[in-house]
Subunit: 959 residues, 2 copies
């Protein structure tokens, strides 16, 4: 049951003053707290703490700023502050132009209010106009000059010599010029202060002055708001104009208590709500209402469970600073408790945005995609000019050429070099750059994928066995497939991926990651060509040899008992067999005899060191961003260039060792791999005409393959977590993939679709974080540098790699496999499925505070994870058989499993662990209606939604 | 200025009631909070949170306990609780034996107080006697049984079937048996609850019941203290007797607010101060005073700087729970602020305890040492029976035999095998086990050290060149040295190490660590015997060979142009040269020809992998203790056995590869390494008589060497941080080292002193941590398992190693070097000097919150570190020259440098960065008197202290 909240009087008052004029936002407040210090009989104001958002304290003796931390106050000090504001003098909208004038007015006011006797006026003014000493960072070279002096003496001497040329007896309180230590204009120290960068431009200062004097017997408290923010000379550490002044002078003996009151008002001044109140307060009561409201919202830690000396690190995220008047006084109040509370809320529903709406017009989606992307086109270019792009290009480039070489090599094997490494390079360059220049989501990286490779292999075998021309058949399949893609594009068919939930996405991307990881490791283990020389005894080195023996001689050697001189065969071949290399020997039909022939020393272990070293160095350097060493910018640079630096290091190590590790070899001549084919494939002439039509059937398979592969990758790239701002273009993407299929078929190059892992790596390498503004504020993930430049450059470089062979040949393959391994592992992190697998090994008390763990029983979570693991295992097994060709179709199987999960899990659990299927949204709502539970249900779907679901179900049944 | 604190009324009241009877400590309180839930029309009390010290919440939906966290309350709820206590009924010392009776009394009281109308009695009693459902962990296998059912349905069904056999209409409020769902005796669930382990034995329960009902229009609040703690059936999750009951029933619509009040009283009940008040309160006013006092000490977090949803992890340490009445109301009060505050305190002065007092009697120190150690002797044995000891023994044993082999080998080289590996093994076993059985500090591990090795080398060379019998000369030096040690022991000379500060200790131990690290790496780099076959081309394998060629034939081969058949030489030697192994070939004067002779494949890289792998695996496994995976006990086991597991893994890998890596070889026959010497060395007969006297001079050097080396290591082992409880025995230690010197000299074995790094490793492997009692409490470091068993076992095993050779021969040396590297690196961690070096690379904002950084300016810290680095560099250079022999004497140099630092740094800075030298304590005090600063100075030293300082200064001048 809900009823209109009853507000407390304080909240009512605040609603009134804050509600009056909500349009002008108040400036940010920077607070500085200075305390009165007596050094050698001289008084001065010394900065002791400052606040932008969090507190920074001057370490006594340490002469440095503490780390920013959350201000922990005592409740006592807040109450005392409240009393101070009730009894002290409040001057609102005082016209002030200089500190002496303001101080004079404050003191006059106090006398007028009868708070202090008039004879103290001069003394108080004298004290308030003492020099302010700020904590500025001292250069390190000073330390050497300080040698031999105690540091305290050194620094105080410095101050005296500058600002205290002669001794002013504290008893001669006269109001002359010497009384005023403060200059009217900001000093160079102030102007040079680098801290200024951390303060927002519109900031105004609030100065808190806390001191003990001997001539007062009760505290002198004054809160001043100036009519205009005014720069009051050396009052503030930075040249920020002062708007607020809080002065607390009191009798001796209560320093700690006064300091706590100063910290309390300073913390209040940087509080969003109270600073608003301070700007808009009409009178003392408003301020006190502000304090009360603050008190009502504070969080209290029990003394026995927390040590007040611990400085609390600023949290990753603080509640939104947007002031919500409706929530005023309602959050904790008895008045307005909502049944259930925050714990009962369901997670935000899965949203894919309007890009996937079914328009109902022919090519409507494509048209919308183009309309959406065109306005960004310019920024797509100039957003790319950033140092981060360089590292991204290098990283992705290396990934791409490794991929191109691997798939090129495999394709060459599979198709008798009709498509080889050369085609793979050029095709990657062509398809990739076209897609990055014109595609809907330029962050997607195109690449050959496993299923396509298997399809080509089967197709080539079929053609050879049936005497069909492979290239021509392939061309026709490509053309059909291109047309089918267009059909899908113009019918807005991509909208169906809206029905893919986290379960499906995670299954797909984990599988791809596992394939990457296992491929990398498999390739390393495949160093069977360089076996380790086990059981090698260094002492018997003389017995290890590998000799080339002429073919006829070999026979003789078998009957080695009596050596005969075979001058005959020697003359016959005219070859010095023992001088031949291994390859030559085999070539000329010689025989390799000896026990060391198959061993290659050091290579296996060296490869392992390069592989594992590259991987671990990359991981460590990536993590370096979170270390304590070096300034933030340098750390970020190191982290951004982690992969490049690791590759360089291990290429260097490899060169240093000078071992014959397998190196990256790129083709250097610009011609098709197979010499009997030209660049262009002719569509007619080699096969009977009915093949042109029949190729429709295999094309259908290719289309499903491409559609699933492309669009799931796109969904993963366009995930909400990536905070992409420029929109995506599923229809446009598919359009270009179709076009490129046709083009690649004509020039006999491989077909390309989006590569999940490399695309994720591309995004990861382009992530932006906010520069932290206020000290202690955590940098926030802002989004991804969305542009077309890096992708395009990567593919241009891939194309140019044909000419870069002399440089690239120094890169050992194990290093690249290390990069592969890193890519696979990195793309696993951040997948919830993976986090849930880890939960199996964690005792409950160590488990991270995931929100789904707060809402779903552990055993349900484990069961859900188990289902995912089983699905993946089945997919993995299928993938290893000939069924790999229908691999993307198997993703449909995942979706069926997800549908069955609705029977096993409650919608509530699924909402937390996965997303609710669109047709379930409604069902769930009905469930809830029945149960009459007070949960926030997602908005009801339109009828169209329901219709779509039916289409979807038909689709599942068909496939 | 200080004056007697004025207490607040609340504090005055508490002082009264708590001061009355401070002798009986109150039991610990376990609090359980249950809320009233309505499921399917049925009411039940469901556990929602519990407190032992920190809060654990039942995750709604998650059906699990949250991690223990600090209870963050709202100030609002505390105020509301205060109001509740003011208006509700308070029943103190109620005689209660069953829940129905107690509930009846509560309700009667409310009616008597006129708080509720009598007609509600039945309804309230009905509600309060509903069944309590506790959150108990469900076994994981249930999850499979639950398949196909929605989890919510499943669990509620379960509950209904057990405790709600028939439906009781909520309108028929009759007081019959069915009203009372609660059994009188604890259920088996309660008794079986493993959580009981976490609750202290003397604990009493406090039950908080919070509920909403429809028949009340204002809250029903009752606070009950029972006269005796009574087990009230199924009320509490564990069979802990209930002492307190807090009941809050209220009208609908304020669930959240009620829950917050419940959390507030629950948190108060586990607060040390308030629970005391609750036990001793005489009336309502006392309770409210308790709340007020609690409020006065709470810590407040500003709402804008902290998100209340964040669960705060329990701190490493909370302020002491000892209730100090004098501090009551004084901590935060305006009343009693001490000038300066906690920041001005100096660190605790360096203390070495009474063990190093100068007794002034002959052998007084030794006598005290013996008196101190004797009572512990039995526990020294039986404290060793613990699983941790096994891992410690394995670890230290491996370190010891590696050391014994290394030093044995080097000594053998240096002394022409007069002392070899055999002597090293037996000497280590003998000296070590005697020391561990009878020494003052059995945690110290004796070993050969570098300086001794160098001394022996120089001595042997001297003897050889001057025709003096080495063994006899060495015996006399040993005897003299032993006597000198006795002199030092009986004159209590060890007290001088009292003047060694952190500066000296850290310098010494860092240097030793660096030597360990550099030795380990040097030994790895020394694999020049197995160079990598650079530039190897697998294709030219046929050209790689290494042939053994007969000496005369070699000449012919140089003129290889025309091959001649050397049947002549063949017959001459009658050897098939090509069948000889490398060693044989060299032995018979053959010549090794070929380009592969000096290469051994794979060995270098394999050694590197073993070395680095052992090191990194050990580091990772050690760190595993802090990971989130696996239960705490398993993690601790893995961490304890980290070194053993790494060694086993890499020994396994090495065996798998079957490469001929250099293995650990221990002598197998029990005889002196050099066959021309017997076990016993005769003191007379070989050298002229005056050598017996002259050996006094070199003996003096050895004594200084041994004294410094032994005692600095002992100081490091006995550091306060290690929390040793059984006391140490510097004099006793030195006594046994002296005795062992004489014994070892007689049997011609090396001399032994304490080895810093291995001793630290020994201590590290025996560290104890408290089992965390209350959930969320951090385990505390309790101390070290001080006993004589592990040390003795290590050395017995070392002695037996002669027979373990068949097993030990599988351990490759690189694995052991990896262990060495780990030991060196591990002993560096925790040294403040090392932490300060790291500060150079950290920008100030990332620096950890070291206390010295709060008090000493950064540039002074850096300067101090720089001085230490320079000192170490100088020592390192000296160590690398022949001056290494006076290495321990150089430690005296470090002390001189430390003395000079008094001129460069203020005593304040040194007190934080180092310790104050004893004679400076007084000086400092005088300084302070002059400055009239209000700092806490260490207690003045006695006159004797001053006298000692003079002796100390003389000592420095002499050396």
């Amino acid at each position: 049951g809900k009823h209109r909240p009853v507000l407390s009087p304080a909240a009512e008052r605040l609603r009134h003053i804050l509600g009056e004029d909500d349009s002008t936002p108040t400036p940010t407040i920077f607070t500085e707290m200075d305390t009165l210090q007596q050094e050698g009989g001289e008084l001065e104001w010394k900065e002791s703490a400052r606040w932008v958002k969090f507190e920074e304290k001057v370490e006594e003796g340490g002469e440095r700023w503490s780390k920013p931390h959350v201000s922990t106050l005592t409740l006592h000090s807040l109450f005392e502050l409240r009393t101070c504001l009730q009894t002290g003098s409040i001057l609102l909208d005082l016209e002030g132009y200089s500190l002496p004038q303001i101080v004079e007015e404050i003191v006059e006011q106090q006398i007028a209010d009868g708070l202090i006797p008039p004879d103290l006026k001069e003394k108080i003014i004298f004290v308030l106009l003492r020099k302010h000493r700020h904590q500025t960072k001292k250069p390190i070279h000073r330390s050497l000059a300080d040698m031999g002096k105690s540091s305290n003496a050194a620094s105080s001497k410095h101050v005296y010599s500058v600002c205290m040329p002669f001794y002013v007896p504290i008893s001669s309180y006269e109001r002359n010029r010497s009384m005023n230590d403060i200059s009217d204009t900001p000093s160079t120290d102030q102007l040079k202060n680098k801290f200024m960068k951390k303060i927002p431009r519109d900031a105004e200062a609030s100065n808190v002055l806390i001191g003990e004097v001997d001539f007062l017997d009760k505290p002198f408290v004054s809160f001043v708001r100036l009519a205009q923010a005014t720069t009051l000379g050396g009052l503030t550490e930075v040249p920020v104009p002062t708007r607020f002044l809080f002065i607390l002078l009191g009798p001796h003996g209560k320093t700690k208590s006064y300091n706590e009151i100063g910290r309390a008002i300073a913390t209040l001044m940087v509080d969003d709500l109270f600073s608003d109140v301070a700007y808009k307060a009409r009178d003392r009561e408003d301020l006190i209402a502000g304090v009360d409201e603050f008190l009502d919202e504070v969080i209290v830690l029990p003394p026995g469970e927390w040590d007040p000396k611990i400085r609390i690190e600023p949290p990753k995220k603080v509640p939104s600073s947007v002031l919500n008047l409706n929530e005023l006084g309602q959050v904790n109040g008895l008045a307005g408790g909502a049944a259930g509370g925050e714990d009962e809320e369901l997670p935000a529903p899965h949203e894919l945005g309007e890009e996937l709406k079914f328009t109902g017009r022919i090519g409507g989606g494509l048209w919308l995609d183009i309309k959406r992307k065109i306005p960004w086109y310019c920024s797509d270019i100039y957003d790319g000019f950033h140092i981060q792009s360089i590292s991204a290009v290098l990283f992705i480039y290396l990934g791409c050429i490794t991929n191109a070489i691997t798939f090129g090599g495999l394709l060459g094997d599979a198709t008798d070099n009709y498509q080889g490494v050369m085609e793979s390079f050029l095709g990657t360059a062509l398809a990739g750059s076209v897609f990055c220049l014109f595609g809907g989501q330029p962050l997607i990286i195109l690449s050959s994928t496993g299923p396509i490779l298997i399809f080509e292999k089967l197709l080539y075998e079929f053609s050879k066995n049936n005497d069909v021309d492979y290239m021509e058949l392939r061309l026709w399949i490509g053309l059909h497939s291109c047309l089918q893609c267009f059909l899908l594009v113009f019918s807005d068919a991509s909208y169906i991926i809206k029905y893919m939930t986290r379960f499906t996405e995670e299954g797909f991307s984990s599988l791809i990651s596992f394939i990457f990881i296992s491929d990398a490791i498999k390739k390393m283990v495949a160093f069977k060509y360089y076996p380790i020389n086990r059981g090698f005894k260094p002492d018997y080195i003389t017995a290890y040899k590998c000799e080339c023996i002429a073919p006829d001689q070999a026979w003789d050697n078998n009957s080695l008992d009596l050596p005969t001189l075979n001058t005959f065969s020697f003359n016959l071949t005219d070859l010095d067999w023992s001088q031949l290399s291994k390859k030559e020997c085999v070539k000329y039909g010689g025989m390799l005899v000896g026990n060391s022939c198959k061993y290659v020393p050091d290579l296996a272990l060296m490869s392992f060191i390069l592989f594992f070293g590259t991987y671990s160095m990359t991981v460590s350097l990536k993590k370096f961003k979170f270390s304590r060493y070096f300034p933030t910018k340098l750390r970020k640079l190191i982290s951004d260039f982690a992969i490049f630096m690791s590759i360089m290091s291990f290429v260097g190590l490899d060169m240093l060792m000078g071992l014959d590790t397998p190196k990256l070899i790129v083709p250097t001549e610009f011609k098709p791999t197979r010499s009997d084919r030209g660049w262009l494939v002719m569509p007619f002439g080699k096969n009977p005409w009915w093949w042109y039509l029949a190729s429709f059937v295999p094309a259908l398979l290719v289309t499903i393959l491409i559609f699933m592969d492309q669009q799931i990758s796109a969904v993963i790239v366009n995930r909400k977590e990536n905070k992409l701002k420029k929109g995506c273009g599923y229809h446009l993407d598919l359009f270009w993939v179709g076009v490129l299929m046709a083009v690649c078929s004509f020039v006999g190059m491989p077909w390309y679709v989006a590569a999940t892992v490399i695309s994720i790596a591309h995004i990861d390498s382009l992530k932006m974080e906010s520069e932290s503004s206020a000290p202690g504020e955590q940098p926030q993930f802002l989004g991804v540098r969305e542009q077309r430049l890096t992708g395009t450059l990567v593919f241009v470089l891939t194309g140019l790699s044909v000419f870069l062979a002399p440089i690239l040949q120094y890169i050992p393959m194990p290093v690249l496999y290390g990069v592969f391994l890193y890519m696979g592992v990195a793309s696993l992190s951040g997948i919830q499925f993976w986090e849930r697998i880890k939960l199996y090994l964690m005792p409950p008390k160590h488990q991270p505070d995931f929100s789904f763990l707060r809402h779903v029983p552990m055993r349900r979570v484990h069961l859900f994870t188990l289902v995912q693991i089983v699905c993946l295992a089945v997919l993995w097994i299928l993938k290893s058989t000939f069924l790999a060709i229908i691999f993307p179709v198997m993703i449909l199987g995942l979706m069926v499993v997800r549908k069955l999960l609705d029977l096993m899990f409650s919608q509530h659990d699924l909402a937390w662990l996965d997303d609710i299927l669109p047709d379930k949204d409604k069902k769930k709502k009905e469930d809830e209606k029945k149960k009459k539970k007070d949960k926030k249900a997602p908005e009801p779907e339109s009828d169209e939604e329901v219709r779509k679901c039916t289409i979807w179900q038909v689709w599942i049944c068909l496939s």
